[in-house]
């Protein structure tokens, strides 16, 4: 195993509110290898984007990193000074947002937004930056990139715009890209193109991608490994094939049962009862126990271990013989 691009050790993010401190991310650890796409999945409010924001250092105050370490390419970045962190953003970590309609500055031409980012991080001449911008646009599949440089965001369709966003995120050749729900705002056909584009870029450039989504279909399609989040904690972590076909955490099992997968034919979709508890009103013991079909007494008192590679955060993980 090569050295991971990103490795998070026991990361916790706290938000002090007037009703006590809330922990959207509670002791999460995972790594992403170069050229690997790690899917981070969970219901909304499970803390998946909060972890992403913590990594790139864009947590909206009063949220702050309480404990844990974030390592990027072997150097620790969670304690970097404001400016050091700023120089790192874009250069080392790229970010792709959810809604392409609002992610691009409506009054600036595409070319300017690209060259501006490159000139900030790479000491190259303006003309060379323009060449690279054209190349970046071609790479993300924008037709006739050369003469689209000086057109404005509103002259592109949703899908095209998301491609531009991806080009922008990658133009300074970061080693890690955090894609926060990149496909949610797009319609299905365009979603598939974007997923394919991300996979292609990941393979060709060896960039590690943290793909945050609530859509299991996207995970199945794109992710190499997957981290399932529930109520701020890591429920399960592992290769996507393994987790999807034989989940060992009851929550993941429920999730898979409620996702229409071609491979499972026409069995009735299973519905997980109840909804995810609010972060400021977590039940005792394992957060999932009120909804867990296999709940036992122990689960109600003891929160259970942190999920790590190969072991789910559950006292009674589901054990199956590995079929695949």
């Amino acid at each position: 195993m090569t050295e991971p691009v990103l490795s998070i050790r026991d990361l916790s993010v706290e938000i002090p509110t007037r009703k006590g401190v809330v922990c959207p991310v509670d002791g999460v650890s995972y790594d992403i290898q170069p050229g690997e796409i790690l899917g981070v999945v969970g219901e909304s409010g499970a803390g998946k984007s909060m972890a992403g924001n913590a990594v790139i250092g864009l947590l909206n105050p009063p949220a702050r990193i309480a404990k844990g370490e974030i390592w990027l390419n072997g150097t620790r970045i969670d304690q970097l000074s404001g400016d050091a962190m700023r120089r790192l953003r874009g250069k080392e970590i790229g970010m792709v947002f959810q809604d392409p309609l609002t992610s691009l500055n409506p009054l600036l031409q595409i070319g300017d937004q690209l060259t501006e980012t490159m000139l900030t991080h790479l000491d190259i001449s303006r003309s060379e930056a323009e060449q690279r911008a054209i190349a970046a646009l071609q790479e993300v599949g924008i037709p006739g990139a050369a003469d689209r440089l000086n057109s404005y965001p509103h002259e592109f369709s949703g899908g095209m715009r998301q491609r531009v966003v991806i080009a922008l995120a990658l133009c300074a050749e970061p080693s890690l890209v955090i894609a926060d729900e990149p496909t949610t705002a797009l319609d299905v056909s365009v979603q598939a193109q974007i997923v394919a584009l991300l996979k292609k870029l990941c393979r060709e450039r060896g960039t590690a991608i943290m793909l945050i989504t609530h859509d299991m279909g996207v995970i199945a399609e794109a992710a190499d490994r997957v981290a399932v989040m529930y109520a701020g904690r890591l429920a399960e972590l592992g290769p996507v094939r393994e987790i999807l076909t034989s989940p060992s955490h009851p929550y993941t099992d429920g999730l898979m049962a409620s996702t229409p997968l071609a491979s499972r034919g026409k069995s009735r979709l299973h519905q997980i009862p109840g909804s995810m508890p609010r972060l400021n009103a977590l039940p005792d013991g394992c957060a999932f126990h009120p909804r867990c079909p296999y709940v036992a007494d122990k689960c109600r008192h003891d929160p259970g271990p942190q999920g790590v590679e190969g072991r789910a955060a559950c006292w009674f993980p589901i054990v199956r013989e590995r079929t695949a």
């Binding site: 700023r86 970590i93 790229g94 809604d99 300074a172």
Partner: protein
């Protein structure tokens, strides 16, 4: 684009006509001009003769249409008080008001935007809150009081600045400017602060709330996520988007500066059209009053038009889809 312009100009013409009608209609109640034109020992017979001479005994409609007919050709009649064509008087006095409005307008906009951006960026900083509250004082005191206090402090007590008037002016063609002489510049200081303070506060608050709105947008978060320097994020990305909605309001503010000049000119005895208007009211000099209102409304409507066109040019979204409808 052209169709839009024509429609706007037509609307502006309509506005001017209405202003003329309303203004002229109201003057009948402001007093009787004849009293100020005749001395102590006049008789009723003198009054009637002069009233006939000035055509004031005609029915209202006749007077109004004669006024409109002349106004269209730029002839606003003769001032009852000064016995000179009103257009000459206005031409003489306009530079003073325009220069004062320009300086205080610039002051208001420049300071307004700078402080607006500063208080938006450092939203909870102490200095930002202090500026916000201090600027409110500008809006919480009547303009005339601010003017008089400034005179009291800077002219009477400290003696740094002249207490009234416009200082020496240099005549260039038929424009007199106060910018080229030392006393002219010194005379500009206090009045432009008095006039500009009120507008500056309004612009500052507007820019602040608009900037806060923009700073919350995704493209700003994305710009930060790309590691751009704060200066670039705030000024290149955020400010440009902030300015869009602010332009229209600033246009309106400039319009009201000229109209607000009435008070400042009275307090500082600034020889502009505002003071002329106040004197015209005092001496019921109807031609001057009517001409002043027409001048102000032309300026106002003109500024409105320019602002709309400006908005059209700058915002690529509007320009792109050629949407004629505004």
């Amino acid at each position: 684009m052209l169709a839009y312009l024509i429609r706007r100009v037509a609307q502006s013409g309509l506005v001017l006509l209405i202003v003329g009608m309303v203004a002229f209609g109201m003057f009948r109640f402001v007093g009787d001009p004849i009293d100020n034109m005749l001395g102590q020992e006049r008789t009723q017979e003198d009054i009637d003769r002069l009233r006939g001479q000035l055509g004031l005994d005609q029915p209202f409609a006749v007077q109004y249409f004669r006024f409109l007919e002349n106004a269209v050709q730029g002839n606003f009649g003769v001032s009852y008080r000064q016995g000179r064509p009103v257009s000459d008087i206005l031409l003489e006095r306009a530079p003073a008001t325009l220069e004062l409005a320009a300086v205080s307008g610039f002051l208001a906009i420049a300071m307004g935007i700078a402080l607006g951006v500063f208080t938006a960026i450092r939203r909870n900083g102490f200095s930002a809150n202090f500026i916000m509250s201090a600027s409110l004082i500008g809006v919480s005191l009547p303009t005339f009081l601010i003017g008089i206090l400034l005179i009291y402090i800077f002219s009477v007590e400290l003696g740094w600045l002249p207490s009234f008037g416009r200082g020496e002016t240099v005549r260039i063609g038929n424009w007199t400017t106060g910018f080229l002489t030392e006393t002219g510049l010194k005379a500009l200081v206090l009045p432009s602060i008095t006039l500009g303070l009120y507008q500056m506060t309004l612009i500052m608050r507007l820019v602040r709330s608009e900037m806060l709105e923009v700073l919350r947008q995704d493209y700003i978060r994305f710009a930060r996520a790309r590691g751009l320097r704060d200066r670039v994020v705030n000024f290149r990305h955020a400010l440009k988007n902030t300015m869009m909605p602010v332009i229209t309001v600033i246009g309106l503010q400039l319009g009201s500066i000229i109209a607000f000049a009435i008070i400042t000119e009275t307090v500082f005895q600034w020889p502009g059209v505002g003071l002329l208007f106040i004197n015209a009211i005092q001496f019921v000099d109807i031609p001057v009053m009517a001409a002043y209102l027409m001048l102000i409304s032309v300026m106002f409507v003109g500024i409105n038009l320019i602002v709309d066109v400006l908005y059209f040019l700058i915002d690529p979204r509007l320009r792109a889809d050629r949407a004629g409808a505004h």
